[in-house]
Amino acid sequence: MATAVMTTLDPNSRSAARGMSDLTIRNLFIIPTIVFLIVFNIFPLIYSLGYSFTDFRASSPAAANFVGLQNYRELLNDPFIWSNFAITAKYVIVSVVGQVIVGFGVALLLNRDIPLKGLLTTLLLLPMMLSMAVVGLFWKLLYDPSFGIINYTLGLGSFEWLSNPDMALYAVAITDIWMWSPFVMLLSLAGLSAVPKHLYEAAAIDRAGSFYTFFRITLPLVAPILMIAVIFRTMEAFKTFDLAYILTSQPTTEVISIRLYKMAFQEWQTGRSCALAYIVLIMILAITNIYVKYLNKVKER
């Protein structure tokens, strides 16, 4: 990849008479970053690709044995891994759908003549800037069955959230919705403010109902930006680790990142975990690809 940068510059570009040539400066500015990322992101991945074909255990001094595709075969045939993926998928759907409904809903409310709109928007955006792990921890107190303010406010008595296997994943998703709806709101607001006002005026002249206006004007025009928010949040929810790991230790909340963490750093099945990491990686790259295509599409507008 770095070689691509070495090619000659466009002859039309103005190069200074003194000092370094533009070509040198360009390479000096770009190549270190590319090299840094290759050394600290790509090289480790190549390193772990090698280990994914072995039975290496980082906790034992025994040398790694080459086992071919055995790790991949076993992982893909392991029903427990598939259940981790199923939990992750459920989590992604619940939390992303929740974030879109709440985030887009709040954006619609904010897209009016609201006094102190700027201040309220900034306050609403605060949760997403905070540390998931540290704030997530505090939700343990909020969810507490005996003295948590959530049960008290909602009058739920001593309802179990985090220690209830059926509820724990939803509790984690609710916290995630709280943190990240503001992100969907932020992007939706940008989309809404970009809708040309004359379209609404024209609709009003035609006596179009608000239902019609929303589905035929607002939604189609906001959709591309909303889509960016959805893909980005899907990607992040798929990778989720901090919140679920800190809030509960239920088997029903063991999303794929937590499984991977336990396999690598608690069970020390290093070789196997490298293989699982690769399976996860390929899925993430696929979503990233879609995401970047959308980013470029919106950028062109």
Partner: protein, 319 residues
């Protein structure tokens, strides 16, 4: 929206205002609860019904910074009278401050973790923004073959799940002795933030008119001089916004820190949850630690408010 004229529109607008206010209160409630718990006496932190009105005190912060142990017997009146005011707060809570043989107060683990967070976040931010600014300028001003592919490659490194990257990094760090060191985390956070910094800075660089440098070049500046004297000052706002974003990301990061550090270089995010442990945690102390940790980010969020959209969308959406 169309001009608000009809009475239905007006009442709808009022409804929206009420709705927004209620939602804002719900969204801020957890943050308010953290802040208020940080100033509560311990016995009021977990009451039913929840305590909303109370006499604020700073004993949680004293306890946050000191190493304490349970009092077996109540302090004698002389001991109590001789103790400084902050130590009395700890006595009042049924605990005593642990002192060394020479009588020096022992610190808790919190201050060193907070310092580690500062060291790691600031250093990695300087590196990521520094490199990112140069690279962004390179991409913005010069023709680069396969520019789109390179930019995609740079962005994709950001999307990797932390645990996936952490496994090989942990093994490699073990070989070179970087586990549980500041530099180990700094390198990881720099790599993580670098892609973000390149993307965001490229947007800011693209907005600076090329003519500024061209004019400087005509005046006899070298390209380097033009970059440092013309472009960098113009990009100052962008650099500051990018730096704050990178700082917040590194400051908040949990998974890498959990895996790569355990004591010497441990940052606050893995440390604070480890204090909950088993039994009945003292939520006032946890709230105090959380409050101090969140404070810088809350301040930065207000400073950044006009750049949030741009930053969160990797520079793709500008207002």
């Amino acid at each position: 929206m169309a001009a608000v004229t009809t009475s239905t529109e007006r009442s709808l607008n009022k409804l929206a205002i009420v709705g927004v206010l209620i939602i804002t209160m719900i969204f801020l409630a957890p943050i308010y609860w953290i802040a208020s718990t940080a100033f509560k006496p311990r016995n009021l932190a977990t009451t039913i019904p929840p305590t909303v009105v109370f006499q604020p005190e700073i004993s949680p912060f004293v306890k946050l910074f000191t190493k304490r142990s349970q009092l077996r017997t109540a302090p004698t009146p002389e001991q109590y009278a001789a103790a400084p005011w902050w130590e009395r707060l700890v006595f009042d809570g049924g605990e005593k401050v642990v002192r060394s043989g020479r009588g020096e107060v022992q610190w808790s683990g919190y201050p060193s973790r907070f310092m580690n967070s500062l060291i790691v976040a600031i250093t990695s931010t300087v590196l990521a923004v520094g490199m990112g600014t140069f690279t962004a300028y390179g991409f913005s001003r010069f023709k680069v073959k396969g520019e789109q592919d390179l930019l995609f490659f740079i962005l994709s490194t950001r999307m990797l799940p932390p645990v996936v990257v952490a496994i090989p990094m942990f093994l490699m760090y073990r070989v070179v002795g970087l586990n549980d060191t500041h530099w180990g985390l700094i390198i990881l956070y720099t790599a993580f933030n670098l892609s973000f910094s390149v993307w965001l800075m490229k947007g800011f660089m693209d907005e600076i008119p090329k003519e500024y440098e061209e004019a400087a070049l005509v005046d006899g500046y070298t390209r380097m001089e033009a970059f440092f004297k013309i472009v960098l000052p113009e990009a100052a706002t962008g650099i500051a916004a990018t730096a704050v974003f990178c700082f917040i990301t590194a400051w908040n990061e949990y998974a890498f820190a959990l895996i790569m550090t355990n004591r010497r270089a441990q940052t606050a995010p893995p440390f604070i949850p480890s204090q909950v442990g088993s039994g009945l945690p003292d939520w006032t102390v946890i709230a105090a630690g959380t409050f101090l940790f969140l404070l810088p980010v809350a301040i930065f969020t207000f400073l950044l408010r006009n750049h949030l959209l741009r930053g969160m969308s990797f520079g793709a959406i500008r207002k």
